[in-house]
């Protein structure tokens, strides 16, 4: 933690970056984002298991962008996010620094190639609980899954916290905001909620880097990350593609292989 604070001080003092986006201790013991612009304030930075938010989400926020070149305290998910954002032309190489805390110290990643190397080294595979969690739902009958999700979506109030918390939901205009035609019904009724959630999952297919912030943000406690995980599995299984691994990469759905599986097409 000290290493992180010192690095932040150093970068700010030297003017290498204008802001360090990191975590501080928030209310009720929670960790939360902080935007340190003054070396003297770097002392408030923390990094521990309570620091779960994917801070990369702030890279897309205009007010934050205006602060100037940033250093981002990056947990593994944030690193993958940055690579995916780069692949989608949302961040430029050298445009920001990544501070990756590692056993007591902190690694400073300036080039995306370095980020790629680190992500490759971490190569986060879904953990056992994660795989079992997904398997549990896959093992249900069709009706059970239908009832489960209908019950879940019935609690959705379309507050769009899932969208706001997702660093890859950066569209200048979201499909739900299109009203000619009105693709997604605005009301938070069962159909509107289903369509919103289907669209959200589809639009993240091949892009989601599995940080889980959608579920953490949902005030109704809907396990949205399951939808993304399911599609991550499909995309990986069918196209051997994983998002957030390379700074220059096509999207799984903007490319194809002539021999993609088509057993379902007759």
């Amino acid at each position: 933690m000290e290493a992180l604070r010192n690095k932040a001080r150093e970068l700010l003092a030297a003017g290498t970056v204008k802001v360090v986006i990191g975590y501080e201790r928030g209310s009720a013991g929670a960790a939360r984002a902080v935007f340190v612009r003054d070396a003297a304030r770097a002392g408030s930075l923390i990094f521990d298991e309570t620091c779960r938010q994917n801070l990369a989400v702030y890279l897309m926020k205009p007010e934050v962008r205006r602060l100037g070149k940033a250093a981002l305290v990056a947990a593994p998910a944030a690193l993958r996010t940055v690579l995916q954002l780069a692949a989608e032309n949302q961040v430029q190489d050298g445009g920001l620094l990544l501070l990756a805390p590692e056993n007591g110290g902190v690694a400073v990643l300036a080039e995306l190639s370095a980020v790629e190397a680190r992500v490759a080294a971490q190569d986060p595979e879904p953990g056992r609980e994660e795989r079992e969690e997904l398997a549990r739902y896959e093992a249900m009958t069709l009706e059970q899954r239908r009832d489960f999700w209908q019950e879940q979506f019935a609690r959705c109030s379309k507050c769009y916290a899932c969208r706001a918390a997702c660093p890859l939901c950066y569209c200048a205009r979201c499909t739900v905001e299109c009203n000619q035609p009105q693709w997604i019904p605005v009301p938070a009724h069962d159909l509107g909620n289903l369509e919103w959630n289907v669209m959200r999952a589809m639009h993240l297919a091949g892009r989601c880097i599995d940080c889980g912030d959608c579920s953490r943000a949902c005030p109704a406690g809907i396990p949205l990350h399951l939808l993304n995980r399911k599609l991550i599995a499909v995309v990986r299984g069918s196209f051997a593609f994983r998002a957030g691994r390379a700074a220059k990469s096509d999207n799984a759905l903007s490319t194809f292989r002539p021999d993609d599986p088509e057993d379902f097409i007759r």
Partner: protein, 671 residues
Amino acid sequence: MARIGVFICHCGENISATVDVARVAAEAAKIPGVVHSVDYKYMCSDPGQQLVKTAIQEKGLTGVVVAACSPRMHEPTFRRACAEAGLNPFLCEMANIREHCSWVHEKGEATTQKAVDIVRTLVAKVKKNKALQPIQVPVTKTALVLGGGIAGIQAALDIANAGHKVILVEKGPSIGGHMSQLSETFPTLDCSQCILTPRMVEVAQHANITLHSYSELEGLDGFIGNFKARIRRKARSLDEKLCTGCGLCTQKCPTRKIPSEFDAGLGTRPAIYVPFPQAVPNKPVIDREHCTYYRTGKCRLCEKVCPTQAIRFDQADEIIEADVGAVVVATGFDVKHADFFPEYGYGKYKDVIDGLQFERLASASGPTLGEIRRPSDGRVPETVAFIACAGSRDSAKGIEYCSKICCMYTAKHAMLYRHKVHHGRPVVFYMDIRAGGKMYEEFVRRAMEEDGVQYVRGRVSRVYERGGKLVVKGADTLLGARPVEFEADLVVLATAGVAQPNAEDLAQRLHVSYDAHRFYAEAHPKLRPVETNTAGIFLAGACQAPKDIPESVAQASGAAAKVGALFSQSQLVREPLIAVVDRQAPPVYSSCSGCFLCQGACPYQAIEREEIRGRDGQLIKTVAKVNPGLCQGCGTCVALCRSKSIDIQGYSHEQVYSEVLALLNRGERDG
């Protein structure tokens, strides 16, 4: 408020026999926005079309739905009729109630109901149609031809003779390509040079053709009708204007032992050289890699002997830019050689050569002046083994395809050998004989029957030396795979034809796609064989796949015809059914976030990046932009775009969305 006219056709009885057309018309009249609905026996007849025109004028229709046959049949007819009546043709839609309804269902309520559904669907669509104007793209009437082989030459001449300017770029010092290396050509056995050189000269002298030999394409930007080509003219170390091609320099050059590319390594050439006597242009080039002066800083003999002081040792490469409207890629092929066939002793034994080398041996202008003498000791070979399919059709070698020309030139080689060495014994080892083509089969038969060439069906397993002879081990599969051993003085491998070494690199400069074997990909394997997926770039000759001369020439003329068609107007006019990226007034500018996933999906490289800048020149955002010259309107980008920032004219979000809702009887209720 929409004013839609609906016109139901009986198509004689083709529709009215199973569909209650009167009821369809009545139901259609009830659809909000429909102000006119009639049925008629033959809508496509003149009086039928007149009904539409009159209604447009008298009822002031804003949209027309003709419920009749398939749009693939009569959409143009009725769109024309609408245009004649002053209604934008793209405000006319066809409801297919014949092929998709009356012909495929029994007479009855369900069938009539379906017809009504179809009409309602198309009414809903047409309400959302927009008046569209055809797209016009200016065309620069100059063609760029890449490659000066027979395909490039043919394309250049055809285009030039059609009255258009041509820039012909050849990477070597002379045009002529592989054909200029050949001795005789099948199936007529006329001398290759004799039929080729006149064409080469014609190119050199043609008023419409600018030839850049010893040059390569550096880059290509732009799009159909409006390309910008950057061409690197490599330094010949020579002022071509002053050089008279007298040849003194090449005679005096002290460095003479350089293997000649033209003679496929069987002959030699000096460091300053003209690849072959009939070269076009007939101007030497200094091979800086071997030239003594460039290596040691001394010599400059050529400079001293040159009567016109044309030598320029300090000459540098020159990049020239050219505006062109179309590109013909005719960069040809390469033959597999080097150590690709260790089992056949190639590169180990001097007397194992490839087909191209045999061509040089057989050529009157070749290193042996046309006498068949083997490389090792110059003896005339008594026995020659020809091995077909050397590499081709051999997945083990990574080449599954058939190189197509080998069967024919192997027969030719065997024949030429017999004609030159009467007592010689040619044996051809083959897998199958592919002699499809005019006079081809006859030609092969002649080799077997008249010239007594022995054909043995079977793959050769290996070739090794034994007492000055090359032992060819194989099997005769026609004789129950009986092992065959044949002692040859010379072995000729019909090696596979492959793509040029730099094929990918060029493809990327051109933004054209290529197949697994790096041959350039045609836009459609059957229907668009000379086009690439990049509009305005065409293919000719063996850069697309192995081809013989007549095929290459035919494709070259085909490509030339495509170019001619493109150049026949000063404006390229295209249907406006293309994708468009959302643009809005400030402060939004565009709903596009510039993720450019669409760019990856576009099969036509039609999506460009546009930087939107404020008055102060400050970059506001970079967004996608569809190039109307390149977009073919498939709409893949439209379905991919998350923010719905791309839409496609003619099949817009609003159109298809309303269709779905209307079909399911849930269209907007307030008309």
